[in-house]
């Protein structure tokens, strides 16, 4: 991904962290945004970061007791330039940093009471930027003010290098900014983990349950027990963001059940966990089992355990699993979790309805799996009573459809990743057909779980994307989906289909999909077929 950084101070030190980024000369951001011929556009960035320093925005006015009207005027001009920049570069994601003004007010002790304070000015700019981004899917906010609040103004900034070379931030300031950029872009692209696996003793509560009993563990409204209660509250809200929770603990199952059932300070309930592995199996093995049961890759997992031994064992045997090191002091545990785990691995910019009901969805899946054991597969499918709805060029589904291209690794023929803007463009384009598949069965509504994108040239449809969410793999949905799409393409005058299978690290599953759907192989994983022939074949097959 190509990143361009625009600023009003010398941002060159970011280059040490982002080797391939284009760092524009300082203070030329307005002309770079406005001029469609500028070097910025020649660089063709995927992401444009506009990072402005509040003090430099005010220039000499900073020392002249400026008022909020000045900031309002500056904000309007900057956002106008951003609008022009977006128009010149519709495919680029615009990242706008919030600003910070230094806490050195002239009316020294009156800051809090004056409406024309630096704080008000900061809010003027930042709130405008946030409102601006909320209305636009290709604009996101990097909350630099948050970094400054977290680490402190004087730690993030460095006055000396400002005077030596117009460099505003300290080395650490740049490191934190760099990390925020990476985390934000990951969240924007939907790159995040799906499952949080938790140990129990000294993780969800203090002490060792097997030794101290239900009444002896530290979990309460005061003292060290409150640390663990706060941690559980934080974990609980992560669940509400669509993250799946699992337990992996060496303990007696009956003791653990007693805690979940009887302990008055437990926040998390057993039903909050999609899977619990409680016993004496080694943890890498248990985590592998969880991955199989959930049908998710190990690279979707984060594992939290206080024991360095267990962490090392998981790290060495399951390299894909993220295993963060908790702080030695338990008091830091809840805030460590929020900053280093939640933001870093589960950070996100928007929630879809599918995300909110994730645990329930997976639970229904587990019920389906159990049902499958007792029935023939045909009976199973019949009893599932699957209903699908084809959505054609659905503009309102672009967020979900982009998310599916980002997250689907197994049933994905080409593994092409698209963002919301790409989807928007393809949905609007007459040369591209975008299909979403909605699914429900007697256990529940799964939402949009399938996606096909076809480029149309004359009478030929070239399949660019064909994917199904892993939640519905193995229910023969792909045949129905493909059939519905072919019927629509036929109505559009498409007579032939071209398709390709692009092998990736985890899509072995669909290597032979096009063969099984009746397309003719043409070598190098390429296929071709006549639409009419495929449609008549489906009628025969039923």
């Amino acid at each position: 991904m190509k990143l361009a950084v625009l600023g009003n101070t010398n941002m060159d030190p970011l280059k040490s962290h982002l080797k391939d980024a284009f760092i524009a000369e300082m203070d030329r951001y307005v002309e770079f945004l406005l001029d469609s011929e500028s070097i910025l556009y020649q660089h063709k960035p995927d992401v444009i970061l506009l990072h402005l320093d509040g003090r430099q925005l005010l220039r000499d006015h900073f020392y002249r007791n400026p008022d909020n009207a000045l900031m309002e005027d500056l904000t309007a001009r900057i956002l106008a330039a951003v609008v022009a920049g977006s128009a010149h570069h519709p495919d680029a994601v615009m990242v706008l940093s919030t600003i910070v003004l230094p806490p050195f007010p002239f009316d020294s002790f009156m800051e809090a009471t004056r409406s024309e304070s630096f704080f008000t000015m900061e809010e003027t700019y930042n709130q405008s930027v946030i409102d601006f981004a909320r209305e636009r899917s290709n604009v996101v906010v990097l909350d630099f003010a948050r970094i400054v609040r977290l680490h402190g103004y004087q730690t993030v900034h460095d006055e000396k290098y400002w005077y030596l070379g117009r460099i505003r931030y300290s080395e650490r300031g740049f490191q934190w900014l760099h990390r925020e950029i990476i985390d934000l872009l990951n969240a924007h692209q939907g790159i995040r983990k799906k499952v949080l696996v938790l140990d129990l003793d000294n993780t969800l509560w203090g002490g060792v349950l097997g030794e101290e009993g239900v009444g002896g563990i530290a979990l309460s409204e005061d003292g060290i027990g409150k640390v663990f209660r706060d941690f559980q509250l934080a974990v609980c809200s992560l669940k509400n963001l669509g993250v799946l929770l699992a337990v992996c603990s060496k303990n007696n199952a009956a003791d653990v059940d007693a805690v979940f059932r009887d302990h008055p300070s437990m926040v998390l309930r057993k039903s909050d966990f999609i899977v619990t592995k409680i016993g004496w199996t080694n943890k890498p093995q248990s985590i592998r089992e969880i991955a199989v049961e959930l049908n998710l890759g190990l690279d979707s997992f984060v594992f939290i355990d206080d024991s360095p031994f267990e962490r090392e064992m998981v790290r060495s045997q399951l390299q894909e699993v993220i295993v963060p090191d908790p702080p030695a002091d338990p008091a830091l545990y809840p805030t460590w979790f929020l900053e280093e785990v939640v933001r870093r691995y589960f950070g996100r910019l928007d929630l879809t309805d599918e995300d909110r009901g994730k645990t329930e969805q997976y639970q229904r899946n587990i019920e389906r799996i159990r049902m499958k054991d007792t029935l023939s597969f045909d009976d199973f499918l019949r009893e599932l009573a699957v209903e699908v709805i084809l959505h054609i060029d659905p503009a309102h589904l672009k967020v979900r459809l982009a998310q599916l291209t980002q997250k689907t690794n197994q049933f994905n023929l080409t593994i092409r990743r698209y963002d919301e803007n790409d989807l928007h463009r393809m949905i609007q384009s007459p040369d591209t057909a975008v299909f979403g598949l909605e699914y429900q069965d007697r256990f529940g509504h799964e939402g949009i779980i399938g996606e096909i994108i076809v480029h149309l040239h004359d009478q030929v449809g070239e399949i660019d994307v064909f994917l199904l969410s892993c939640r519905v793999i193995g229910r023969r949905i792909e045949r129905r989906f493909f059939h519905l799409v072919l019927e629509n393409l036929k109505e559009r005058g498409i007579r032939e289909i071209e398709a390709v299978y692009v092998p990736g690290p985890r899509n072995e599953l669909v290597r032979d999909l096009y063969d099984s759907l009746g397309l003719t192989p043409r070598g190098e994983n390429r296929y071709r077929a006549e639409v009419d022939r495929l449609l008549s074949r489906f009628q025969v097959d039923g």
């Binding site: 010398n10 060159d12 030190p13 040490s16 460095d158 000396k160 290098y161 005077y163 030596l164 070379g165 460099i167 300290s170 080395e171 650490r172």
Partner: protein
């Protein structure tokens, strides 16, 4: 045992190699700005930002701008060492 100057030189050479993307052998006490292309005025500031961060020490603007060669940096590091011991 290595002298303090010797171990400071090794540390600094490693840092400059990493930052300026040059071979270790090039960096000697007599190495100056003109010997390393990336050691321009901006590179100089980057170098001191990282030196300060890694050593947890601060130098003044004058000290930083007066430096012309690797040996100038080494004397700065030693003066600071001397002050703090």
């Amino acid at each position: 045992m290595k002298s303090r100057t010797q171990s400071n030189l090794e540390w600094l050479a490693g840092l400059m190699t990493e930052m300026f993307d040059v071979k270790d052998a090039v960096i000697a006490p007599e190495t100056t700005h003109s010997d390393i292309e990336q050691w321009d005025s901006l590179g100089h500031l980057r170098l001191f930002m990282v030196i300060e961060e890694r050593l947890g020490r601060r130098f003044t603007m004058e000290e930083i701008t007066a430096v012309r060669s690797v040996s100038d940096i080494l004397s700065l590091l030693e003066s600071k060492n001397a002050e703090e011991t």
